[in-house]
Homo-oligomer: 357 residues x 2
């Protein structure tokens, strides 16, 4: 198969129709007629930096590439529109493997109503994905940016935190995972599902959920839209870690965000992983990143309606803090334990050298 | 500098305002209000596949990445809008180098009225650029696709062909370049500008133009818009090589495109390079690729007006063939010499292993 045949085979597997898409992939450019406002975001995933093929299937990698890009649109409260995919394939990669990757993307595109409207296929030294996504709203002011949080607003977060970071430990450090199970590595294969777990022990259902949280995050498009409808004044997806992402909102909104660290909703199993890894579960929840939950500011009188809307979508919305004036110390997010101790506000810097995941 | 500081420094150097751009880089997504139809295209450049840092400066690489992406919009007849840049930087790359790359992009953005509206910065094993560009027209049908060529249409091409391929020979094969100059490599430094050149000899002005054509192509946005206004029924930019690109138009339009090979406008100096490399100048002009000229189909009565419009932009528009019914042999582009000999219709396949450029 040459480039053009492979592109044709990929196109066959991908959802390529959308309500605003007049002409999809195959010409010099795709043509859309938005009829309103457009939100556009780009995201890259590079083998050895963002994922390892030893621990994630190509289908999972394809899913995650599109899901994490769409998560940025969720954080705008946007309706998903189109995706444009740059795929850099290493020399040894077979056409079957490329199609498996495409099928992962196709699945997420189907689940979210995203049309794959274009792309570029090229050689690259390692598997490289760059995804551009577009989302829609009737008017520009319907989108929720990071910059609208106002003093008196409540701070909320969807779902549960720390799961993706704990999942990464499970995937990358099997020794620690075994300790979290209360068993050594050789016992894992015969681990007794019925056995009474000690409080800090991990159960297999939670472990599986944590791994999936890391390998296959869900873009919370419906939740983002519901929060926008409920009147969210600022929103961001938790990709770098809650502390770092809250700081982005603080700076963009020129506000002080005070977050009650003890109120953070922590995913089941995170405490067991943290204990085994000799880390604070709050560190995983506040700085681990990649949970792709949504963190938002809401007027206090909008919180109950927002919570009802999210329960209808099957997920909790937890109040974790409030917005105050920045004051002379300047805009920042502060995580405090109830004792008063401030936690270090640590983000996650893509350019800082770190272990490949 | 961390990722966020570097992004801020890059943003300072880039044009970030556009008439349809409500919110640029720095939030979860950029916000635009198109008010009409949008053309979107993505393009990737990978070190070792599309360029080599030994032969192109970072400024040139930055320029070429944005220019080649915008060339696809030129081929739609679109007005340039925004660009979104994924930049994968290898470990050893300094911030000064990243900023030089950004300055190259900024220059092209400024020249073309493109706003840099977003991006993603990540580590990658080699320098990797993925550029998404958006362009505009009032209505979707104002864009010129590849699929509208009709029997009886004239086929035209802007400017001159073969220059980028000849430039690549000059850059990558200094020995051949010396032969084309009619001198050996050691004489090049003292080459006498006033010397009478033999007919096949290359002059320094042409050589410089050929190198620039390869390293720094120009997206023909104004020409593309003029051709659309003149009534072009199909259009494509010459990136893979005229023969291959004409074939894309033939297939999309379900037509036979007959091209008079002897009518192709060949850039000055290409004949000298071809002679030195023992290749047919027509091969460089028809299959070399990367000239980023525009190839279009026009109703015959629209040709003169189109030529006048392009002369006003400082470039020739040459009639090189015509559109016929596909017939039972199916859609295809045929290049014929006046003697009747058909040339092999060769494209350029990104996935075929080839020398890095």
């Amino acid at each position: 198969m040459g480039e053009f045949e492979l592109l044709a085979a990929l196109r066959e597997r991908l959802p390529t129709a959308g309500p605003r898409l007049v002409l999809g992939s195959g010409d010099d450019a795709a043509i859309t007629v938005p009829g309103g406002a457009v939100a556009t975001s780009v995201d890259a995933l590079v083998e050895g930096v963002h994922f390892r093929r030893e621990t994630a299937s190509l289908r999972q990698i394809g899913r995650k590439a599109l899901s994490t890009a769409l998560s940025d649109l969720a954080a705008m409260g946007a309706e998903a529109g189109e995706a444009y995919i740059v795929l850099g394939a290493p020399e040894g990669m077979s056409e079957a493997e490329l199609l498996e990757l495409g099928e992962g993307m196709a699945a997420v595109a189907g689940e979210t109503g995203t049309a794959i409207a274009g792309g570029d296929l090229t050689r690259a030294p390692v598997l490289t994905l760059a995804v551009t996504v577009t989302g829609y709203a009737a008017r520009a002011e319907d989108f929720v940016t990071r910059g609208g949080a106002r003093p008196g607003n409540a701070l909320v977060v969807t779902g549960e935190l720390g799961g993706a970071a704990a999942g990464l430990v499970l995937i990358e450090e099997p020794g620690l995972a075994a300790a979290a199970f209360g068993a050594d590595a050789t016992d894992l294969a015969t681990f007794d599902r019925g056995k009474q777990a000690r409080p800090r022990d991990l159960d297999l259902v939670s472990a599986d959920a944590l791994r999936r949280r890391q390998l296959d995050p869900t873009p919370l498009l419906a939740a983002g839209h519901a929060l926008a409808e409920a009147g969210a004044t600022a929103m961001i997806d938790v990709s770098d870690g809650l502390a770092g992402d809250a700081n982005h909102v603080a700076v963009a909104s020129d506000a002080l965000l005070t977050i009650d660290a003890d109120a953070l909703p922590i995913a089941p199993g995170v405490a067991a992983i943290a204990a085994a890894a000799d880390r604070d579960p709050l560190e995983l929840a506040a700085s681990g990143g990649e949970d792709y939950e949504l963190f938002a500011a809401l007027p206090p009188d909008a919180v109950v309606a927002a919570q009802r809307a999210l329960v209808a979508l099957g997920m909790p919305l937890t109040v974790i803090g409030q917005v105050e004036s920045a004051g002379i110390a300047g805009p920042r997010a502060e995580l405090r334990r109830r004792g008063g101790e401030a936690l270090p506000s640590r983000g996650f810097d893509q350019l800082r050298p770190r272990k490949p995941r």
